[in-house]
Assembly symmetry: C2
């Protein structure tokens, strides 16, 4: 099953975060995303033409986060949205982060990103 | 007239940013805000109980920004919203930044902030 078709599962901690190699392998299928903070997070910067369209995307990502029960950190302003994903309870990356990243790519395909 | 009752004016550049002393003097009446980035920006971190309430505040600030034609950079996630204000065209702080900060304080009074 494709990552974008899966759903986040409850994570109560007690599992190890993904290793850098495991995370990098998952990113191969997720254009636009990069490892950050010593492979503890994944990050994507999405360009948009102005503030209102950036905020509209933030709301679509927010609705998705509520559906999945997994919440990113988002920074945005005029022309951009930056999404950071990691799993607080394990202090690093979990499968859920890659599932949410794939769903965000389905909402905002990287090949349509405006530079 | 109180800062929160004024409106942002078009800024086309060509004016000097406020000095650090002038900016600090204006902050005296704006609880919650701090100078950042060598007095080029002002920043406030606002606590909220979860992701949905943080996103709701982001939308209220976004609507205010559109009304005023002056746009902050916002970072938010579960439990917090961080607002950064500065004026791109002058590479620093303008009266507009303090007007918008005062209006944000009227929306989200610092004394009601949840820690």
């Amino acid at each position: 099953m494709e990552l974008a078709d899966r759903h986040c599962t409850p994570c109560r901690g007690g599992v190890a975060p993904l290793t850098q190699d495991a995370a990098a392998a998952r990113l191969a299928g997720l254009p636009g995303w990069q490892l950050a903070d010593g492979a503890k997070r994944i990050v994507r910067c999405i360009h948009r033409p102005d503030f209102a369209t950036a905020l509209a995307l933030v709301n679509r990502i927010g609705a998705l986060a509520e559906q999945e029960g997994h919440h990113p950190d988002l920074k945005f302003g005029w022309g951009y949205v930056t999404v950071e994903l990691f799993t607080h309870r394990i202090g690093g990356l979990h499968e859920n982060d890659f599932i949410l990243a794939a769903k965000i790519n389905a909402l905002a395909p990287p090949e349509r990103d405006r530079h």
